[in-house]
């Protein structure tokens, strides 16, 4: 854990040291702001649901962009070799990268609180239960996508390839729900269960259900586990 934090800190620092990091984060904030402000100006409507609908879509591009270099860069530059010959386990390295991504996402989410303040200033009602559980959901969803992104990053030395792999997997988990209506009933229940949107929608409505938590944590664990195995195999 200590090592994971060390690696997470190194990654977060390097993210904020690079212009690319700022640009990525700025995009995130501008996009959420734009999607949030649009209905506000057009129809004078703004509520948390806008955030909860929009952020998952932005995540699809935003998170693979954050994670793409996390492992692939260490592989292409050879620094993974030094790292792995320190007394650090591959699992600790992978966890560190994951924490870094989740940390950056949490930071981005923190900035979207401005929108919440806008809602409050406009005198609308904010359901704080829904607010807490929705943001918790966004963080969990971000964590799942981060784990997928780490997995993508562990598969290639090339950042762009890593980005595309993660993007495809994330889109798969996101879109499944949209496909559900085309499927026969017995399949649709299954596909609904594996879609991230279905589980997130419960949280964004303010319902915290252990089944959803189990779903999110299993995905996180699964992808981080696979990433660790890939790194341990040294066949990359």
């Amino acid at each position: 854990m200590r090592y994971s934090m060390l690696i997470a800190k190194k990654e977060i620092k390097s993210f904020f040291d690079s212009p690319a990091g700022y640009v990525t984060l700025a995009f995130f904030l501008i996009l959420t702001g734009w999607f949030f402000a649009n209905p506000l100006f057009l129809i004078g409507q703004a509520d948390l649901r806008t955030m909860f609908n929009v952020v998952p879509i932005i995540y699809i591009f935003f998170i693979p962009a954050i994670t793409m270099g996390l492992i692939s860069k260490e592989k292409s530059s050879g620094t993974y070799e030094t790292l792995a010959t320190f007394p650090i386990n591959d699992s600790e390295i992978v966890m560190g990268k994951f924490f870094a991504s989740v940390g950056i996402i949490a930071f981005g989410l923190l900035f979207t609180f401005v929108h919440l303040i806008t809602i409050l200033i406009l005198g609308k009602n904010v359901d704080f239960g829904q607010f807490i559980s929705g943001y918790f959901g966004l963080l969990l969803l971000g964590s799942v996508y981060s784990a997928i992104g780490i997995f993508g990053s562990s598969l290639s030395k090339n950042q762009i390839v890593s980005f595309l792999i993660s993007l495809i997997i994330v889109i798969f988990f996101y879109l499944i729900q949209q496909l559900v209506i085309f499927l026969p009933q017995f399949l649709s229940a299954f596909f609904q269960y594996i879609s991230t949107g279905y589980h997130f929608s419960n949280l964004s409505r303010g319902v915290i259900d252990t089944r959803d938590l189990i779903y999110f944590f299993s995905l996180i664990y699964g992808f981080l586990f696979l990433s660790t195995k890939i790194m341990e195999s040294r066949k990359w």
């Binding site: 050879g78 620094t79 070799e81 030094t82 792995a84 010959t85 320190f86 007394p87 386990n89 040294r234």
Partner: protein, 315 residues
């Protein structure tokens, strides 16, 4: 202190390291010599637990790389061949990161850092981003990374490759200094490189150890293997009968030229077959032009050992 036992590594179908065995004693400076692609880096990567072996083991004191990888890694400082560094960090930031990864207590960091940058001569660039440093200084940063935790064993993979002559001299001096108190393993594909700093040389070729001994031993061992150059006119094929007529000799090469031919006859260290060979020549109708026994340098040892199809296993 370090035992390498039957260590083997396959990359898919390629056997990069083939059942190698050697021991390293405490305090020794070992030169691990071999041409490119011989399997040096692969061996070092297995010793440092970066790559899992296909077969065999590496034992350090009473630890082995399967059960005690972490403990062994703590004892080793390693500079990989490509000297990978986090280019965006400053030297200070990098060494701070390494010292944390190496579990150096925060309270000791200042003094450890001071000692390390003194040894490696990094004081003047300590706050510069690594990306802005010259190749020689980057190499020093790599070395600093390898020694910061005061490891008992230091493994340097081709530490001077790609440096200019002045930088090579500087890094060599640093390495000599380190060798005074540590067990040091340095790989190289350049003989002079290891000759300059090492007590003992282990030569690897095509994944196999082909020679192992002190610089002196290797020289002596090979000088004993006499090479007799015989230059003559006449039917060249007749020399094929030398090994039959004079047991203990063998033909190592035969070169036919327009006028004359040259054959190189080799024989083992403790005998001198010159009289017998001269007798044999007299019994044939070839005309002897020249007969010369060769003085063999260590460099030649290296060359002949690593030559394609060379008789490496006889030493």
């Amino acid at each position: 202190m370090i035992q390498i036992l039957n260590l083997t590594k396959d990359y898919d179908s390629l056997r990069a390291v083939d059942q190698i065995n050697f021991n390293i004693n405490e305090g020794e400076i070992i030169g691990f010599l071999g041409p490119n692609g011989a399997g040096k880096s692969t061996t070092l990567k297995m010793m440092t637990s970066f790559l899992p072996p296909t077969d065999g083991n590496v034992i350090v004191d009473d630890l082995n790389i399967y059960d005690n990888s972490k403990e062994i890694r703590k004892l080793i400082g390693y500079l990989p061949e490509s000297n990978p560094l986090y280019m965006e960090m400053t030297v200070y930031e990098y060494l701070e990161f390494v010292s944390k990864a190496r579990e150096i207590p925060e309270s000791k960091f200042k003094s450890v850092l001071k000692k390390t940058i003194e040894k490696t001569g990094l004081a003047s660039v300590i706050s510069k981003p690594i990306s802005t440093l010259s190749k020689g200084y980057k190499q020093r940063v790599g070395l600093a990374q390898a020694i910061i935790h005061d490891p008992k064993i230091i493994i340097l993979d081709e530490p001077t490759s790609g440096l200019d002559p002045n930088q090579i001299v500087e890094i060599r001096e640093l390495i000599k200094e380190l060798g005074k108190e540590k067990t040091l393993i340095i790989s190289s594909h350049i003989l002079q490189e290891v000759q300059a700093v090492c007590d003992r040389i282990v030569i690897i070729n095509k994944g196999k150890i082909v020679a192992d001994g002190s610089t002196e031993e290797l020289k002596a061992g090979f000088k004993g293997r006499n090479r007799l150059h015989i230059n003559f006119i006449g039917n060249a094929n007749i020399v094929d009968e030398i090994p039959e007529k004079i047991p203990g000799t063998k033909i190592s090469s035969l070169e036919k030229k327009d006028m004359s031919s040259e054959v190189i006859v080799e024989y083992s260290s403790d005998s001198d077959f010159r009289p017998e060979i001269y007798q044999w020549i007299k019994s044939t109708d070839i005309i002897l032009l020249e007969m010369r026994r060769e003085h063999v340098s260590l460099e030649e040892v290296f060359h002949s050992l690593t030559l394609e199809g060379g008789d490496s296993n006889e030493i």
